[in-house]
C-alpha cells in the first residue's frame, strides 16, 4: 500500500458546502462529515490537542440522552497524528467524577496508558492531565475512558495515525465508529445483569421451539439436546448479554434512521477505518454490492484479503478498501451478532441517496463446539464412541441450524492442519484446575479447540466470503523472531447466574498479584475460553502476535475468543511496568474479568 504513487492521492473537496456539514454536526461528531478525510478542519491535528470531557444532553434518534461528550461531541473528535511525532494531549475533566482516557492499541510509557489504578490515579474533576508520548506506529486506533462504565455513555473516539510518508493507500478515507447506546444509566444496566440473569435477552428458547425440534428431528434427539444444555444449565441462545432491547446501535453517533452518509466519487479507492467502540456488541459488517479488501487489523497492516463480510469484536479495528465503480449508493450494514439490531449508514456519490437495508438474519443457536465437545464432532464419523448417538444428533441439529457443510468443512480444515503442521495451540494439552476454577466458573471446556478458521456464531452459513482469523497474515515480519521461552496459560471463566466474570475463576478483587512477564522475554500466552460467551481480550502496552498458522503472524491488541476456543499468542515483553489485561466487554470487565500484567 505504501508504494502507491503520491500523485494518486487526490484531496478532492466534496460536493457539500460547509453550512450543510455544520447542520449535520448538531447530531453527530463533525469529523464524521460526509466528505471524509478531506474535511481537514474538523480533525484535531495541532501540536497540543485539548480534549474537554463533559456531561452533555445529546439527541440520539428522537430522544435526549445523558452522554459524555468530548469537545462537545459524542463520539469524540477524530485525533489525527503522524508517525514519528510527539503527541501532546491535554485532557480536562469537567465531569463531577474521576475520568481517564486510554489510547487503545498505542505503545507508550506505562504512566501514559490511562488506566486508573494501574497506570495512574485517574483525572479528578476540574483537573487536566497532560498525556505526552512519542508516536512510533501508524494505523487506525481509538481512545476511550477506562473509568467505571463511562465508555457506555459515549466517552470514546477515533485515533488515526498517518504513516511517516503520509500515504493512506487510498484516494479518500472515512472513519466509522460503531457503538451501542442505551438511554438507561449504565450502572443500572450492570445491576440488572447482576441480579436478573437474561434480563436483556428476548430471544430465549420457548417450549414451542422444543416442540418444533421434536416434530423435525424426533423426541429422542430433542430430548438428548435439551438434556445436555439443561444439565449444564446453559442456554444456546445466550449470545449477547445486552441487546437491542435497550441498545440503539450507532454509526458515528447516528442512529440507523439518521443514516450517516459518506461521500465517494466512482472509481475512487476509499479506505474505511472501522472501529468497534461498543461497550458490549459484536457487529457483522458488510456493504451489499461491494467487495471489501482488508488491509489492516487492529491498526497493523495485513496482506490484502478480499471478503464480503467480517465480524468485528468489541474494541477491534479493521481497515478495508472499497472501490465503488458506479455512481450509486451502498449501505454500510453493521448487524449486532445476536441479530437484535443494527447500525447503518450509506456510502453515496451524493447526499440524500440511500440503498436498500438488508433484512436482519435469524438468531442462530450455539452448537456442540461451544460446549467444548468439538473433537467428538470430528471423531464421531469414524469411532464408535458411547457419545456417538448424542453427537450425531447434535451435529445434525447444528447442520440444520447452520445450513450444512460448514462444520464438516471446519473439521476438515482442522484435519488438514493436523497433517500439514498443526497450529502450536493444537499440540498444547489444556488442563483445568482440580476444583474446575471454583464457584466463579460455571463450566469448563471439556475439549477446547482452535476455532480460528470459524467465522463465529450466526455466520457459519453466510452465502458470502466472511473473514476468519486464519485469513489474516501480517504485511511484514515483526522485529522479534525468537521462539517463546515460556508459556503462560489463562482460562476465561464465568458464572452467568451471578454475572461473575474472571480469569482462572478468580475475579480481579480476589487475585493477590499481577500476571508476571519478565522484561525482555518472549513468551507464549495460551488462553482457553471456558465460557459460553465470546470474549474480546485486550492486552495493553504490547502486541499479541496471533499464532494462526500464517507467517508473518498478524498482530492484535484485542483477540476474540469463541466459546470453548483455545488460542496461542506470542508476546515480546518489551514494555516495562504495569499494564491492564482484560475482557473488553465493558460489563464483563466491571464484573471482574481483569488482570494486571507486570513486566519487570
Amino acid at each position: 500500500m505504501h508504494d502507491i504513487a503520491q500523485g494518486r492521492r487526490k484531496f478532492v473537496l466534496g460536493a457539500l458546502g460547509v453550512g450543510a456539514a455544520a447542520a449535520l454536526s448538531r447530531i453527530a461528531p463533525v469529523w464524521a462529515a460526509p466528505q471524509g478525510r478531506n474535511f481537514k478542519d474538523q480533525v484535531l491535528t495541532s501540536d497540543v490537542i485539548h480534549l474537554d470531557i463533559a456531561n452533555a444532553r445529546m439527541p440520539i434518534g428522537h430522544k435526549l440522552g445523558n452522554a459524555i461528550a468530548i469537545n462537545g461531541q459524542m463520539p469524540g473528535p477524530l485525533i489525527r497524528l503522524r508517525e514519528g511525532q510527539r503527541a501532546n494531549l491535554h485532557v480536562s475533566n469537567q465531569l463531577n467524577e474521576d475520568t481517564s482516557i486510554h489510547w487503545h492499541g498505542i505503545l507508550l510509557p506505562e504512566n501514559m496508558d490511562g488506566v486508573p489504578g494501574v497506570s495512574f490515579a485517574g483525572i479528578k474533576p476540574g483537573e487536566t492531565f497532560k498525556y505526552a508520548f512519542d508516536v512510533e506506529q501508524y494505523g487506525t486506533y481509538w481512545y476511550h475512558s477506562h473509568s467505571g462504565v463511562q465508555e457506555q455513555r459515549g466517552h470514546l473516539g477515533p485515533l488515526v495515525i498517518e504513516p511517516k510518508d503520509g500515504d493512506i493507500g487510498a484516494d479518500r478515507e472515512h472513519t466509522i465508529v460503531l457503538s451501542d447506546w442505551t438511554f438507561a444509566d449504565p450502572h443500572d444496566v450492570l445491576r440488572k445483569l447482576k441480579v436478573a440473569e437474561g434480563y436483556y435477552n428476548y430471544q430465549k428458547r420457548t417450549i414451542f421451539d422444543t416442540l418444533d425440534d421434536v416434530s423435525e428431528q424426533g423426541l429422542a434427539k430433542t430430548w438428548k439436546q435439551r438434556e445436555m444444555w439443561g444439565d449444564m444449565r446453559m442456554s444456546p441462545r445466550d449470545i449477547a448479554d445486552v441487546t437491542g432491547s435497550t441498545y440503539t446501535y450507532l454509526m458515528n453517533g447516528r442512529t440507523p434512521d439518521d443514516n450517516w452518509q459518506a461521500l465517494f466519487s466512482p472509481g475512487e479507492k476509499v479506505r474505511l477505518r472501522i472501529i468497534n467502540g461498543s461497550a458490549m456488541t459484536f457487529f457483522d459488517f458488510r456493504i451489499p454490492g461491494l467487495e471489501m479488501t482488508v488491509v489492516a487489523a487492529d491498526g497493523q497492516p495485513v496482506k490484502p484479503v478480499k471478503i464480503d463480510e467480517f465480524r468485528i469484536g468489541v474494541a477491534e479495528v479493521y481497515d478495508v478498501i472499497v472501490e465503488p465503480k458506479s455512481a450509486k449508493p451502498f449501505t454500510f450494514f453493521a448487524e449486532s451478532f445476536d441479530r437484535s439490531g443494527f447500525a447503518r449508514g450509506t456510502l453515496t456519490p451524493q447526499l440524500g441517496m440511500s440503498a436498500p437495508i438488508p433484512a436482519r438474519r435469524e438468531m442462530t443457536e450455539r452448537g456442540m463446539a461451544a460446549m467444548g465437545m468439538g473433537s467428538m464432532k470430528m471423531n464421531d464419523n469414524s469411532s464408535g464412541m458411547n457419545m456417538s448417538s448424542d453427537t450425531q444428533g447434535s451435529m445434525q441439529n447444528m447442520d440444520k441450524m447452520s445450513g450444512s457443510g460448514h462444520q464438516s468443512k471446519a473439521s476438515a480444515h482442522s484435519h488438514a492442519n493436523a497433517e500439514s503442521g498443526a497450529l502450536p495451540v493444537e499440540n498444547i494439552t489444556i488442563e483445568h484446575d482440580d476444583d474446575h476454577h471454583g464457584a466463579g466458573a460455571a463450566m469448563i471446556a471439556k475439549n477446547p479447540q482452535s476455532r480460528l478458521d470459524e467465522p463465529g456464531i450466526g455466520l457459519e452459513d453466510a452465502p458470502r466470503r466472511v473473514l476468519v482469523y486464519t485469513d489474516l497474515e501480517g504485511a511484514h515480519p515483526w522485529p522479534d523472531e525468537r521462539e517463546p521461552s515460556r508459556q503462560i496459560e489463562l482460562h476465561l471463566t464465568g458464572n452467568m447466574e451471578r454475572y461473575m466474570w474472571s480469569f482462572d475463576g478468580v475475579k480481579f478483587n480476589e487475585v493477590d498479584g499481577p500476571v508476571n512477564f519478565k522484561f525482555g522475554e518472549r513468551l507464549r500466552l495460551v488462553m482457553v475460553n471456558d465460557t459460553m460467551m465470546d470474549h474480546p481480550i485486550h492486552l495493553h502496552g504490547m502486541w499479541m502476535e496471533l499464532e494462526n498458522g500464517n507467517y508473518p503472524r498478524p498482530r492484535k491488541h484485542t483477540i476474540n475468543l469463541k466459546p470453548s476456543e483455545k488460542v496461542s499468542l506470542l508476546i515480546t515483553a518489551d514494555a516495562p511496568g504495569n499494564w491492564a489485561f482484560h475482557c473488553h466487554l465493558l460489563y464483563h470487565m466491571e464484573a471482574g474479568m481483569f488482570r494486571v500484567v507486570n513486566v519487570s
Binding site: A121, Y202, T206, G440, N509, D512
Partner: protein, 248 residues
Amino acid sequence: MKNINKSILLVGTLSCFSTQAQVKPEWPSPVPEIITGQVFFDRLELTRTNARENRAVWDMQAWYGSDYHRAVFKSEGENTQNDGKPTDLERAELLYGYLVSPFWSFQVGAGVKGELSSESNLEEYAVFSFSGLAPYWFEMENSLRINKEGDIQFVGEAEYEWLLSQTSYLQPRIELVANITDSEKYDRESGFSDIRIGLRYRQEIAREFAPYIGVYWSESLGNKRDKLKRLGEDTSEKGIVIGARLWF
C-alpha cells in the same frame, strides 16, 4: 512443562504477595468489587379457596452483598379474610449466604414463625438452607429448621419455568414439608406433613413486574392427615390465585 509453568507462576505470585491487586494502594481499584442487592416478591397474591375463603399470601426474599457473601432475608405468610385469626407468618428468616459452587449457596441463620398476635408465642428456630439452580433449571430451596426444643423440620421448594413466549411463562411449583422429629410443643408428628402443588401463568409487563393467575392444590400427609381426619377437618384444599411477581 505445565508444572514448571505453574511453579514459575506460583513463585511470581508469592514474590509479590505483599502487593495488592492494584498497583498503588492510594490509587483507586481499576475494577472495584460490586456490592448490590434485590428485593424479590416471588408471590404476592390473593387466593380464593374451595372453602370460599379469601386469603392474601406473600412470599419474598431480599438480599444484599457481593457475589460470594450475602445477607438474605426471607419472609412468607398469609392472612385469611374475616376468619377472626391473626396473620399466619410462615417464616421470617435472616441468613448469611455463601456461594459454595457456581449454582448453589449455603445459608445459615435464624427465623421465627407463628401467628402474629400479642398472645401467641412465635416459634424461634435456627435454619440451614441450601438453595440454587439444579440441573435442568429447577430453582430449589431446601431448608432445615431446628427450634429451641430440638425439633427438626424440613421445608423444600422447587420451581420450574416454561417459556411460552419471551414474556409469558408457565410456572409449576412444589412445596413439601416434613417433620424429622415429633414436636410436642407445636403439636407436630414426625413424617411428611404437607405437600402443595401450584401452577401459575405469568405475563411480564416489564422484567420487574409480572401479573399472574394460577391454581394450587395442597394435601396433608401422613400423621397430620390422620389427625385432621379424626378431628373431622379438611385434609385437602384447592384454590385459584391472582397476583404478581415483582422485584426492585
